[in-house]
């Protein structure tokens, strides 16, 4: 018990990345929610840099193997929304050449305790499937004390 408290205190003091990097949105753009949640979760804009979002939004016909193309007006509106709500503090931790949130240093650090078998399990399938372990993901809730990792793969 004391050891856990000590580690917790050290973690808090050292300012390691926390779920606070998922910045709550002020106003939600309806087209962002409707379009980006059509195939997967509308991922929190604060998890990537404005530059990464811009790159992604300019190649939607080649969106990780799918065609996610939009009408120009929708594309412009969503791009602006993403840029306005993109990662601000420590942008280098929220960027990846692949443009995948799951490849960013921040994500990798946050999920370092998750066994690789968990990602491949039938309940989770992929790291892009946030809601498998974060029940409140669709509402932007990634609080650690509400995480529920299915079956095997949870440490300690």
């Amino acid at each position: 018990m004391n050891k856990s408290l000590l580690i917790l205190a050290l973690c808090a003091l050292s300012g390691l990345a926390r779920a606070d990097d998922v910045r709550p949105l002020g106003k939600v753009l309806p087209t962002w929610q409707n379009e980006c949640a059509a195939c997967h979760l509308a991922y929190p804009p604060s998890l990537l840099t404005a530059e990464d979002w811009k790159k992604m939004m300019s190649g939607l016909d080649r969106h990780f193997g799918a065609n996610a193309s939009l009408e120009p007006a929708d594309r412009a509106g969503i791009t602006t929304f993403l840029e306005q709500n993109a990662a601000r503090r420590k942008p280098e931790r929220h960027s990846a050449a692949s443009l995948r949130i799951t490849d960013t240093p921040w994500f990798q650090r946050e999920h370092r305790e998750v066994a690789s078998a968990t990602w491949k399990s039938s309940q989770v399938k992929s790291a892009a499937n946030c809601a498998a372990c974060h029940p409140g993901a669709a509402q932007g809730d990634f609080e650690e004390n509400r995480v529920r990792i299915p079956a095997a793969g949870r440490k300690g």
Binding site: C39, G65, A66, N67, A68, S69, S126, A128, N129
Partner: protein, 134 residues
């Protein structure tokens, strides 16, 4: 009467005004007939089109890959696992009620699965198959 018929048939042949599966189907049929006089939508052709396996995208290799083989059942996205509502209007009343939405998804999914835009005839067959009563 002739003028009214003309106006009505013009309205029906413009997809932008369609809001029911029957209207959308009529619009695609009218468009297909321009290229192919005497065209009639076929549910069987639509069924084969829906189920056909294609080499364009190895995960999304058919419509059924995401929409399942039974359009009255919910499907799931073959990559993300997200639930996709049933395609058949009989099972899901919101299907084919917005021409803008339908055109958007035809544009995306035809490019991904078929490797090109779908023709009006293919779209008509597709809706005919999904609207089948049986």
């Amino acid at each position: 009467m002739k003028t009214l018929t003309l106006i009505l048939s013009l309205a029906v042949s413009a997809p932008v005004w369609a809001e029911t599966p029957a209207e959308l189907l009529a619009a695609y049929k009218a468009e297909a007939t321009q290229a192919q006089p005497g065209f009639t939508p076929s549910a069987e052709r639509g069924r084969q089109f829906f189920l056909a396996k294609r080499p364009v995208n190895d995960k999304m290799n058919s419509c059924a890959a995401c929409h399942t083989e039974n359009p009255r059942q919910a499907g799931s996205h073959v990559i993300t696992g997200k639930t996709i509502g049933a395609m058949a209007p009989a099972a899901n009343p919101e299907r084919f009620t917005s021409s803008a939405k339908v055109e958007k998804w035809f544009r995306r999914n035809c490019t991904e699965v078929v490797g090109r835009a779908c023709s009006a005839a293919e779209k008509a067959d597709f809706i005919q198959f999904l609207s089948a009563k049986a």
